[in-house]
Amino acid sequence: MLMLANKLTIDELASRIPDGAKVALPPDYAYCSLTAVRALIRRKVKGLHLVGVPSLGFQADMLIGAGCVDTLETAAVTLSEFGLAPRFTAAVKRAEINMMDATCPAIHAALQASEKGIPFIPLRGLIGSDILAHRKDWKVGDNPFAENDPVVYLPALKPDVALIHAPIGDKYGNVWVGVRREQMLMAHAASETFVTVEEIVDGNLMDDLKMKAATIPGLYISGITEAKKGAWPLGIPGGYNADHEHLQRYVDLAKTDEGFEQYLKEFVLETPAEAAE
């Protein structure tokens, strides 16, 4: 008598992520739910605080372009081989978003602090950097076990929502993420986790010891949506490849405000039924 997962449509999922939420997102090379991002843009979500774990890509660029984002907390925003993220770059130059620049291990460590229920975690490095100089929420303190040994104290970073994609889930809300364990860390650290999966399989992923070791337990999952090719136009490791032609088209269009609006219209706003495909 296991608890069944809370199965949602993609629009229900988007409606459960409130305006102003602190939302953790994975990098492009992990499992990104672009289908959920499109649903969020359609529902005109506002004021998001995005947390890159540890960096952001297409998801953030689209949400920024669509005016959904107030704050970015991330080690980078990159479209990798496609170059600079155009909507991100434009928004920063116009001072339209609040930047909280970080370094990758600081994001991982601060999420681990939330995962462990500890109020802060120390981290080496950072001292003397302008990353630290601009992060008024971080502190430099003493290592209590040594003399004259300053160390950075990071407060626990607790996202309201972790939003991820994964290859498989089951009807109990268990979600297999393979080696992309930062997605498991995100689920542990966040108050709620919403997930889209390529496929909801029969049976219980926890019953197979090989699958269980890389499966997020349903305990952490607030809602799950089946979404075939839910990462498109990104790919998923071990699954399908990224749609390079489409991504290049995005980058070309998103260079201008008008081009981005055209992209949104064509690929986001006029496909409200994509989850039912």
Partner: protein, 247 residues
């Protein structure tokens, strides 16, 4: 034998600096450092591990995005590569922005792991293929990671060399600055002075020319290294070594 190209000179120059190490990590989109690490691994006779990051297939980590940083923090990463939109004469690296941070003239992706790895990896090799006063500046506009730290700051790591398309700089940890180590064939010391925005030391006597790889090294680079790197960076391997298919 076909002519030696700049990439091959850089691969050899970097590989020399990796000799004897146990674990060299290479960031994403770094074909020349990647090839150099593979050359050094080939020479190590099985004593060196190389991990290529940001690629699902070419790394051996299994504990999520945090592991590579944990590995570095444990002291299990001996060398890493960093680039910068700007690098200054104090070896500070800027991966963030040019101009005012709040409303910049140019904005780059961000600091990634530099603000940490630069502190804990013993040999960080700075690598910038555009050697101009625009990139090698007197003072960076934003310090993603500082080149040097005060004595009381935990700093087992730091800059080891700076390699550009024109020359190779060594790092003087005492004087906290760069010293020109060698100039690549076809380039001059005067040109380096002209194209570098920061002051640097000169070696005693004449500045040597960066060594051209010998035929044995070229054989390895153009053979097993080219073949391995083509799996990771097919376009690079096709352009430089004329092997594999562009993708």
């Amino acid at each position: 034998m076909k002519d030696v190209v700049l990439e091959e000179i850089l691969i050899e120059a970097i590989a020399e600096n990796l000799d004897g190490l146990r674990h060299v990590a290479v960031g994403a989109s770094s074909p020349i450092p990647g090839a150099a690490a593979l050359l050094a691994r080939s020479r190590s006779k099985g004593k060196m591990r190389v991990s290529i990051l940001g690629s699902e297939d070419n790394n051996f980590f299994s504990d999520g995005g945090k592991e590579i940083f944990d590995v570095a923090g444990q002291g299990r990463m001996d060398a890493f590569f960093l680039s910068g939109a700007q690098i200054d004469g104090k070896a500070n690296v800027n991966l963030v922005s040019v101009g005012d941070y709040e409303q910049p003239k140019a904005r780059f992706p961000g600091s990634f792991g530099s603000g940490y790895l630069y502190f804990v990896v013993p040999r960080v090799i700075l690598f910038r293929l555009e050697h101009t006063p625009r990139t090698l500046v007197e003072k960076v506009d934003f310090i993603s990671a500082p080149g040097f730290s005060d004595d009381n700051v935990y700093r087992p790591g730091g800059p080891h060399k700076l390699i550009t398309d024109r020359c190779l700089f060594a790092v003087d940890k005492e004087r906290k600055c760069f010293r020109l180590e060698s100039v690549h064939p076809g380039h001059t010391v005067d040109e380096i002075h002209e194209q570098t925005g920061f002051k640097f030391d000169l070696p005693e006597g004449t500045v040597p020319e960066t060594r051209i790889p010998n035929s044995e090294t070229l054989h390895v680079i153009r053979g097993e290294v080219a073949s391995e790197i083509s799996e990771i960076y097919p376009a690079f391997a096709a352009r430089v070594f004329g092997i594999g298919n562009e993708s």
